[in-house]
């Protein structure tokens, strides 16, 4: 197990190297550069040229690349052009925000998604099944930005229950955090709830028909034990895969949701960095976030091995 872990960690290094090359190249290939964003709406061409010079953007690409990788080797990710803050701290400061929001959304997803999926599978073809699946389908059909805007209008403007946006850290004011995070988390979760409920249901249906479940039933084990111990445990494998996907989906979803609700998280940071051509921020930020997601995927793989003894990895 530990050997497997180490092997996979070593395997992550080339992945990250690839990511750094891709994001460096990708950003330089995009037309436009950060000088236009700094210079503002009505800058003279001269000012734009001055800013380019100041940022070293007039240097050859190889010099810029050498500069970036040189910094990377010293553990220096550089400074964000648009935030005037070190890339490392800009990312680290925003990580907890996105993690807290994603965890909130993940909890909603897991509870509602697995719950609805299992329930629907157990009562296949009943009205419970059909209602749950209809809701799941609605969930995966509504764009989350559309839902977010509808939420703002219904719950913030119409009913006045929740604030329209903004963010309060959990550590400062848990209740305030809950109030500001609920609409974004729910609009973020809905798609994933639909996704998870459907996968859970179809997997459960398959598992419930497997021989060992029927055997367990035939042996007269009580229903909750059959479902809990045998069926659900085996259904966890595909579900785990989906949860792994959901984690990256949450990070992706946060891109739009954070912008919509003015939440200072990673998604907003990286989107505005890409759109504003903040080269160091995109390169360094993506590298850090990617490293994190690689770790999550690694965790999912390790979970497989634990959950399903039939999988013998890596030997």
């Amino acid at each position: 197990m530990i050997r497997l872990l180490l092997e996979r960690l070593a395997g992550a290094v080339p992945v990250l190297l690839l990511v750094s090359v891709v994001s460096f190249g990708l950003m330089r290939l995009i037309p436009g550069d950060p000088s236009a964003s700094i210079a503002g709406l009505s800058a003279t061409p001269q000012m734009v040229a001055q800013i380019r010079e100041q940022l070293g953007l007039d240097q050859p690409l190889l010099t810029q690349a050498a500069h970036w990788y040189g910094g990377l080797l010293r553990g220096d990710l550089g400074r964000s052009i648009l935030l005037g803050q070190s890339v490392f701290w800009a990312t680290v400061e925003r990580l907890p925000v996105t993690i807290a929001l994603s965890l909130y959304a993940l909890v909603v997803t897991l509870v509602v998604g697995i719950g609805a999926g299992v329930l629907a599978a157990l009562r296949q073809n009943s009205w419970v099944d059909q209602a749950a699946m209809m809701v799941a389908m609605l969930g995966i059909s509504v764009p989350n930005f559309f839902l977010g805007l509808l939420f703002i209008i219904w719950f913030a403007v119409g009913l006045g229950w929740l604030p329209t946006g903004g963010y309060v850290p959990f550590t400062e004011d848990p209740w305030g955090w809950f109030r500001t995070s609920t609409m974004p988390a729910v609009s973020l979760a809905l798609l994933n709830v639909g996704l998870l409920a459907r996968v859970t249901r179809s997997t459960m249906l398959e598992v419930l028909r497997q021989d060992y479940v029927r055997t367990a039933r035939a042996k007269g084990l009580p229903g909750y034990k059959v479902v809990g111990k045998h069926a659900l445990a085996n259904a966890m494998i595909p579900i785990t895969t989906v949860v792994g996907i959901i984690v990256s989906l949450l990070v992706s979803g946060s891109v739009v949701t954070e912008t919509l609700f003015s939440i200072p998280g990673i998604g907003q940071l990286l989107t505005s960095a890409v759109l504003g051509r903040d080269y160091p921020m995109v390169q360094g930020g993506l590298l850090l976030v990617t490293a994190l997601l690689v770790l999550v995927n690694l965790g999912v793989d390790m979970l497989y091995a634990v959950l399903d003894p039939r999988i013998r990895y890596g030997r």
Partner: protein
């Protein structure tokens, strides 16, 4: 055999509902030039913000353009993008997933590359690719394929990993069957159910992600109408002229829902393991 399957499908209520919804959208897409009289990009200086009426079935937008025309032409684009992304995924996702799950030697490198692509948050990678290539329909399709193929591959691989260890595959190996034959006859057909479910979701993702890209101003080139960019342009008027954003939103939901019902129906009927049940 095929006739029996078809009959069973047509008796499946949800499948038929889904098929009907999807056919409506397909019809809109296919017959767009005949269904609309107004050019979807034709401005109407004197017909701004008209709510749905007899003259404008779906109303008009902030520039007085007919939303019926825009929505119908948008359907064509959404369907094009969805179909292209699904086909690319079916081909490349299955290929990568099956190879990776079945051949241990390939698993490492393929999954590392997969991980690298999946490691980028989907929408950021899509934004990056469309930003580099420049916004166009083809580039959006390419970006969505690059983003989603690794995810499909992962699902296929997960099923193949389990199937590889089953008795009947082991037996086939013992009997000396070729890898290709085993993959084709034992592994892939049994991995089809989760793939179909995944692909039914994927159409939704493709259309939704396209909408998101447009929402962020990076979809197909305006003023070409797509549901995504109609909503993006209408969002600032969503309280005063809610129909601008609601109509493409509802069409979008209809399309996705239709496809999911369709996929569910197919799965219920085609999955051999479920068919064994009484």
């Amino acid at each position: 055999m095929w006739r029996a399957t078809l009959r069973r499908l047509l008796r499946h209520r949800l499948f038929v509902t889904g098929l009907a919804l999807f056919l409506v959208v397909l019809a809109l897409a296919a017959f767009a030039p005949w269904l609309t009289t107004a050019d979807p990009t034709k401005l109407g200086i004197r017909t701004k913000f008209r709510p749905p009426s007899a003259e404008f079935v779906f109303g008009t937008d902030n520039l007085g353009r007919s939303l019926w025309s825009r929505a119908v032409w948008g359907a064509r684009l959404s369907v094009e993008i969805g179909v292209a992304v699904v086909v690319l995924n079916a081909v490349f996702g299955t290929l990568v997933g099956a190879l990776s799950g079945y051949f241990r030697r390939l698993d490492g490198p393929l999954m590392r590359f997969n991980d690298a692509l999946m490691a980028f948050p989907a929408i950021l990678l899509a934004i990056g690719i469309t930003a580099v290539l420049g916004p166009s329909t083809e580039n959006v399709i390419l970006a969505l394929a690059v983003v989603y193929v690794p995810r499909t591959a992962r699902i296929v691989r997960a099923s193949v990993l389990v199937l590889r260890e089953t008795e009947y595959v082991q037996a086939a190996v013992a009997a000396g069957a070729s890898h290709w034959r085993i993959l084709r006859t034992h592994v892939l057909p049994n991995a089809l159910a989760p793939l179909i479910v995944q692909l039914s979701f994927l159409f939704a993702y493709a259309v939704l992600t396209e909408a998101t890209l447009s929402f962020l101003g990076l979809g197909a080139v305006p003023p070409t109408p797509t549901w995504g960019n109609i909503m993006a342009e209408g969002r600032q008027y969503m309280r005063e002229a809610p129909w601008i954003i609601t109509i493409p939103g509802l069409l979008l939901m209809m399309t996705v829902m239709g496809l999911n019902l369709l996929g569910d129906g197919l799965r219920d009927v085609l999955d051999p393991r479920l068919r064994l049940q009484p």
